[in-house]
Point group: C2
Chain length 278, copies 2
């Protein structure tokens, strides 16, 4: 079986690592020639080819690129895809890309998905075996995919040892905005704020052990990946961000007025998150 | 050498574990009788005693309790401390407690410190060996401590394999507000907001893998510990929180207007945090 992975970064590279050894030939497509070479040197892929050429000879094509790029190239891939081949998108927003190809004659060869896995690192060298292990993968509007396409996508995620969930694209984008995308804004802005107000870099380093390091982890994430996600999920994310800002203002008032009992009470409420995540 | 640890939770319990085996007798003081018993059962302490009794027979008394409780009991401990004994406070705010005892006749027996280490868990069962290893400990206004007191405190932190930094209490409180305390507010409020807007608890769990889980980690922290910290460090924290809210509003405007280039640019700036923390 020949699999093309478009974008051999953290996600695509980790996928390649996990699929090797299952009688697969892995073709890498990356517009960044250095990344393509690095992916070969790291043993992530067997060969690097241009997209058109790879599309012709692949049973499965997986898009692991920024969501704006995925929307741009998916219609072209579907134009040229073999009748029995499948294209799977792994992006973090689903409504836009589904809308983009809803009337494409080969829509049925496409499966819209989102594996809920990642780190703050990017590029081929960030890839590792096990990134997807025991995580959740979402498949959006599965009814629009052909049975053979859906089966191939499900088989891939099961090989990665992922748990599958099915959802419509709009719901996916709302839930992921509320939980994941909001967390990224929270962390990026925490990083920005500390860089703004703490002029002594040494003190950032010194004080980092007390919670900052993990809370700011996502602020290290790739702008190339995240800027288009925020653009495509602007409406849901803006709603979530509005609530977050309102809650922070309330917390600030509590601190300014030294309403320590109220502070205690809202933190006890926030502690609920422990139960939900456990 | 006899050491009393007041508060056998995450911090006090981990300290106890790290100091055992150095020819020490560890006395635990905890107003929570269940915690005291648990600490004995877990092998954290040799014996549990009332504070007054423990003070009389200890060479070193360490306060590992919420900052409001520490401020309350420190003067009483200093009233009764043996001339050659030392009391060390480990709280996360330093200006208030230093002010509280600045004119105490036995101020020189006291060392104000803050080990920059912790987790989101609390209680004796959260204690573990190695919590302090290779972390930073801050000692505040060391010039107000007697040489023998300072030496004993430094020796303790060196036994824990910590790196020592010296700072005045006001500076400490400002830096720690900007970096650590702000992170906690950011995370507590992220937890609150997601609980507010995401009505489907299953989706919080499902989506958590994509960054939320680590960003919200601190929202699991103990309100008993954090409410008094926020009260005592209200001024610096309110300043920091004001800047954070302003930056979030700017980010929201960028998202609302789909200014994707600007989003890219501020995230690239936030990425600087990677260099500083590495």
């Amino acid at each position: 079986m020949t699999i093309t992975i478009v974008g051999i970064g953290l996600i695509g590279g980790s996928l390649a690592l996990s699929l090797r050894g299952f009688q697969t030939r892995i073709i890498g497509v990356d517009k960044n020639q250095k990344h393509a070479e690095e992916a070969i040197n790291l043993g992530l892929i067997d060969v690097s080819l241009p997209l058109k050429e790879a599309t012709k000879i692949s049973d499965l094509i997986v898009l692991a690129i920024p969501v704006d790029a995925a929307r741009e190239i998916l219609p072209h891939i579907l134009d040229h895809i073999n009748p029995d081949s499948v294209v799977v998108d792994m992006g973090s927003t689903k409504a836009g890309i589904c809308k983009m190809v809803e009337n494409h004659k080969n829509r049925r060869n496409f499966v819209a998905s989102h594996p809920i896995a990642g780190t703050e690192n990017s590029g081929p060298s960030a890839a590792f075996h096990g990134l997807f292990n025991e995580k959740i993968a979402i498949i959006a509007e599965k009814e629009k995919s052909a049975d053979f396409a859906l089966l191939m996508c499900e088989k891939m995620y099961k090989l990665l040892n992922m748990k599958l969930i099915y959802m419509n694209p709009e719901k996916h984008d709302m839930h992921i905005a509320y939980v994941s995308h909001l967390s990224h804004i929270s962390s990026f802005t925490l990083g920005l704020t500390v860089l703004d107000i703490e002029k002594d870099e040494d003190q950032i380093f010194n004080m980092a052990g007390s919670g900052f390091e993990s809370t700011v982890r996502l602020a290290k994430s790739s702008p190339e990946m995240w800027a288009p996600i925020f653009e495509q999920n602007a409406t849901h994310l803006s709603d979530a961000l509005g609530f977050y800002i309102d809650n922070l203002k309330k917390f600030k008032t509590i601190i300014d007025n030294k309403e320590t009992k109220n502070a205690h009470s809202i933190m006890s409420k926030a502690n609920e998150i422990r139960r939900i995540l456990s």
